[in-house]
């Protein structure tokens, strides 16, 4: 409804098996009931039980702090859902800072009419993903917007965690000669979501790679590898991550197309859809820039984790032209790689 109802006795919102109602966002009794029956039981911890305006944490700096909103469509897709994505995505951003995520906030924007069973499934998935990596969902917020003014459910998570790395990790640290390593095959998440949304019937079901990356990323740091930059390859894919880092660091990059792991089914799907796998989103893959001398050991360490068993060096950082990423194809011809430029892959995370 677009006009508020001023009648003093609005009907109570539906209960079990019902749908989200505007009153669930009003800050009153209906919201309390939604929080008590759906949200708090799913996240259940001492901080939330205090029912205060925020959590109080005993963290000691340096601390990594990040946020992402999740608007993926559809909410559920092979290999994941918006809930696991919202936990793993933010955990991964913290890991890319050389830090271990310990606490998340959760902001839910619900559309009036969303089945409560969908909401239950999403928050259960968030809890499961959080438990798997030992992070706590300690503070949150729930808003409801009228039917037609959102698309089921949007989630924001912000994350915190102590920095493990002892030297800075970031785009500005990347230097000439660094090895460029990806943690596994690329392009699965984007294709999985596109296929689920558009109902493409590929021969095999391609599952999202959605996963937490803290363990392999921090294993590099803890082993003393000279890690200069880490970046999870989400929206815009490997290409956009590489170009942004090259531009920020003022370096060039030379990629070897034959060395970039892409599964055959993903490659075939990309061909059908006219997509470059280098532009397709991942949610469980990262690229690491490490000192050349540490490359072999870094790959060995990554291959010790299931989530990064397919790690491979795919190129190296070069000096110039600054900001340019080139990829040498299997026929030996180099092409310039740019960021994703259009809108081929909306609502992918």
């Amino acid at each position: 409804m677009s006009k508020p109802d001023f009648s003093p006795a609005c009907p109570a919102p539906a209960g079990d098996g019902g749908t989200v109602q505007l009153a669930h966002g009003g800050g009153g009794r209906a919201m309390e009931r939604l929080l008590d029956t759906v949200i708090r039981p799913a996240f259940d911890n001492a901080q939330l039980a205090r029912r205060h305006d925020g959590a109080v944490l005993d963290l000691n700096g340096p601390i990594a702090f990040t946020t992402d909103s999740y608007v993926v469509k559809p909410l559920f897709f092979p290999g994941g859902d918006i809930g696991s994505l919202a936990v793993n995505g933010t955990v991964n951003d913290i890991a890319m800072c050389g830090a271990r995520a310990t606490h998340l906030s959760v902001g839910l924007i619900l559309e009036e009419g969303l089945p409560l069973d969908d909401l239950r499934r999403v928050v259960a998935s968030m809890r499961k993903a959080a438990d798997a990596v030992g992070v706590q969902l300690v503070t949150g917020d729930t808003k409801v917007v009228d039917h037609g003014k959102a698309d089921g459910l949007f989630i924001n998570t912000a994350g915190l965690g102590p920095v493990v790395a002892r030297s800075p990790i970031g785009p500005a640290e990347v230097r000439n000669g660094d090895a460029i390593i990806v943690s596994g095959d690329i392009g699965r998440h984007g294709i999985a979501v596109m296929a689920a949304r558009e109902g493409f019937g590929f021969e095999t079901v391609i599952e999202s790679d959605c996963a937490a990356l803290g363990d392999p990323a921090l294993a590099l740091v803890e082993a003393g590898i000279a890690v200069h930059c880490l970046r999870d390859m989400t929206r815009g894919g490997l290409a956009s991550a590489a170009v942004e880092i090259a531009e920020t660091a003022g370096v060039a990059m030379a990629l070897d197309e034959a060395a970039i792991p892409v599964r055959e089914d993903v490659r075939a799907a990309c061909e059908v859809l006219g997509l470059d796998p280098l532009h397709v989103a991942n949610e469980g893959r990262f690229v690491a820039f490490v000192a050349a001398g540490d490359a072999k050991r870094a790959i060995e360490i990554l291959r010790g984790f299931a989530v990064s068993a397919g790690a491979a060096q795919i190129g190296a950082v070069t000096e110039s032209p600054a900001g340019q990423v080139a990829s040498r194809g299997v026929l030996g011809v180099s092409r310039v790689v740019d960021m994703l430029s259009g809108e081929q892959l909306p609502r992918i995370c």
Copy 2:
């Protein structure tokens, strides 16, 4: 558009004075341009300039951590807008933890077609509100959803800051005999937003009370007042805040209706709209529960700040029945106050 466009050469999104396009959320070149021309210039700080996945902060615990999403409709209203609301609202939640906000994250969910000038106005307002209280917007995320799948612009902010209070502040600390103090007149924000949305022509323009509350709230703490709980009275108003705290603490509360400050124009608007001022949202008002012996001094301290110049004691905590809030009217008759129960006031923050 609901179907992705696979054409290799999508037109570039509109620039200055244009609108948000789906490509602005794709993680590629168009998003970089939006960030470079609109977002980063507005927030401009060293953390964002690193272009990394998160900020690294030197904070030492205990640290308060909170989040809120903002879906207010309309985006601009007398006395504020979704941008100032998104900064002040989260700064206030941190203040209610007895902490001073130092860093915010910003998650933007933009609807395709949003005028870029509206976005510029909102991020400028965020920056202004952040500067006014000395908080930095250090990490962020921008998503775009297709036209019709959001309502202009939603914002999530998460906030961090060191705890100033040396004893715990929260609902569980409230005890029998505590004085209940509000920091000023109630109900303005809700009425301002409703009037702007529905085009009500009241005699005077009622402006939102949207403001940051860190200074007066922390002045109480720093002066050694025995502050047991602080709560900003947003969605659901004073009534919902009081009832939630009474239920959590297992205490009762007796309010004196005549002592609750409500401006005459707000009271008149509530009568026309059939609203109880105790249920109407505020965005620059809080309720403090302090030891009875400190009440007078607490009010004096609050009255020293413009934002809380209208502070007044409105009642006291009593022993039983647990969870019940009663309000004695001007004729001496008490009524039981409950949380907001319907959906009279959707999309108020």
